[in-house]
């Protein structure tokens, strides 16, 4: 089940999109989200759609893979759609029982659904095309100016990297412990909610203990290699802005301006 969630899972590739500077990709994603909320008509969506199709085709990520990522969020999209559909007052088109469907409702509902879908696809494109390591690198660099006001940028980035690194390890560990307890007759699958929650204790206690042990060992191993935070730390891969980064940024800015023009003109 956990394996089915593709939002945020890196899809390796060697395309222009993959090679873009992570800082630029993060900024573009932010601008994209902001732009989406400026849209109040259907027409600008065409530009957004065009932009997304362009990015997807350039990144060579299978459309099926992206649609699979939408799947777990489908309930949220449907609920939003239905709420907007039935809760908007206006000219009634038809009635289902006590509920009225209005033209305005239909409009708003599909409008909101599109916004959500674009939001999810757009943001997942960032993580799909950026490896976790370069993503945290980018975040660290972007937060650098805030170091002066006491934001621990390097530490935050390091924490994120470590957390991401240990997700598969912990999943593996959980499976191992689960099997060991099942060998002792533990039952994780049947019973009501309360019993099932209770049956997780034999899984969670050893899992936490091993997570703490791992954290201890990792801290020790880092110290043994003289790790001491971000000060004067050089990096193996320097982030350098390229022509392609400027081109990507310009395209995003053009899209942003078009959307603003539609809103205010």
């Amino acid at each position: 089940m956990i394996k089915d969630i593709t939002i945020g899972q890196y899809y390796p590739g060697n395309t222009v999109i993959h090679k873009l500077d992570p800082r630029i990709k993060i900024i573009i994603t932010f601008l994209f989200i902001i732009a989406l909320f400026f849209i109040d008509k259907f027409l600008p969506y065409l530009f957004v759609l065009g932009f997304i199709i362009m990015v997807i085709s350039m990144s060579k990520i299978p459309v099926k893979y992206i649609l699979k990522g939408l799947k777990p969020l489908l309930p949220i999209i449907i609920i939003t759609f239905l709420l907007n559909l039935f809760m908007t007052r206006g000219q009634v088109v038809f009635e289902i029982g006590p509920l009225d469907v209005t033209i305005e409702g239909l409009n708003k509902a599909s409008f909101m659904a599109f916004r959500l879908i674009f939001l999810i696809v757009g943001t997942s494109l960032l993580t799909l095309t950026t490896s976790p390591i370069s993503l945290t690198d980018g975040i660290e660099k972007l937060l650098n100016p805030f170091k002066k006001i006491g934001v621990p940028a390097h530490e935050l980035a390091m924490m994120m990297t470590i957390a991401l690194r240990f997700i598969p390890t912990l999943l593996e560990e959980a499976e191992k412990i689960m099997k060991a307890q099942m060998a002792r007759g533990a039952d994780f699958e049947s019973g009501n909610v309360l019993n099932r929650a209770k049956s997780l204790v034999p899984l969670l206690v050893p899992l936490f203990i091993s997570a703490f042990r791992r954290a201890d060992e990792l801290a020790m191993a880092m110290e043994a290699r003289c790790y001491r935070g971000g000060e004067n730390r050089t990096r193996m891969k320097q982030l350098i802005l390229n022509t392609r980064d400027f081109i990507a940024m310009s395209i995003m800015l053009i899209l942003f301006v078009i959307i603003l023009l539609y809103r205010y003109l």
Partner: protein, 287 residues
């Protein structure tokens, strides 16, 4: 007949690019009361194999019978199988979770739905079986014990379910020599005293040579050798090609034989080697 395995095949992630055949048409019979050693280099399918024996993994194809009961059929009671076949995982102490040693050992019997008195009796028995003092340790937290003691608590947790077949996956990994000898001694005693069928997975050829009646060698999901330790350890080149080896003492005796023709080199334990060297010295005064 205790365990019968017929054409057992297991494929991970079938029909995907990550498809791997972990077990490839395994056929094996294990008699009641046998002490089996299972060796093979990392990734040879040992762990996948033993997880099939108590129903943690389901075969892609093939059948497994335990005392005549087909444990691969759908309507079989998994609890019953897991009671009959006790599986002690590698680094078993990582499964401990209760506040006290006694409570942790009682986890298995409790899942079997036994009465309070029976559970307490079994906890006592199984702690005694692995050489832990019940009165001293029962109320201690399992997390404040030594590594060897923790591991024995975990083994006791399986023994408390009174399995007829006990599978141990590298029970001595990561222990100091004292802890290792204690655990191996207790496993040997369990086999002799309670006639439990034991399958021991190990990377230590010395431990295997000392303990087991029959040795099974796995390579790339197949059983490639099956015989007494003496037979199998006589084929050192073949074992080395499979990424394995023979006991140090057998290497030593082979080297000795090059200088000293009258000595046997099919010796697999230190005690045997001592006897053989003494015999050779007394029998003929160096030729």
């Amino acid at each position: 007949m205790s365990i019968v395995i017929k054409n057992l095949t297991h494929i991970y992630n079938p029909k995907s690019p990550f498809e791997t055949k972990a077990l490839d048409n395994i056929n094996l019979e294990i008699d009641k009361g046998e002490f089996i050693g299972l060796i093979g280099h990392t990734g040879s399918g040992k762990s996948t194999f033993i997880q099939h024996l108590n129903g943690l993994l389901k075969p892609t194809s093939g059948k497994i019978f335990i005392n005549g009961l087909d444990i691969t059929s759908k309507d079989v009671s998994l609890k019953e199988i897991r009671q009959k076949v006790g599986l002690v995982f590698q680094y078993a102490e990582y499964q401990l979770f209760e506040e006290t040693v006694a409570k942790d050992i009682a986890f298995g019997p409790k899942n079997l739905g036994l009465s309070e008195e029976e559970i307490e009796k079994r906890v006592k028995e199984s702690m005694e079986m692995v050489g832990l003092n019940y009165e001293v340790l029962k109320d201690r937290s399992p997390f404040e014990l030594s590594g060897g003691q923790k591991r024995r608590v975990a083994i006791a947790g399986i023994l408390a379910m009174k399995p007829e077949i006990l599978i141990l996956d590298e029970p001595t990994a990561g222990l100091d020599p004292k802890g290792r000898d204690e655990i191996l001694g207790q496993i040997k005693r369990l086999h002799e005293k309670y006639k439990i069928t034991i399958i021991l997975v190990s990377h230590s050829m010395e431990d295997i040579a000392k303990l087991v009646d029959r040795l099974i060698v796995m390579y790339r999901g197949k059983i490639v050798m099956n015989g007494t330790p003496r037979e199998i350890f006589s084929k050192s080149e073949e074992l080395e090609r499979l990424g394995l080896g023979i006991p140090q003492i057998t290497y030593f005796m082979k080297a000795l034989k090059k200088k000293w023709v009258n000595i046997r080199d099919d010796v697999i334990t230190v005690d045997e080697a001592k006897e053989e060297i003494l015999r050779a010295i007394r029998g003929n005064n160096y030729d």
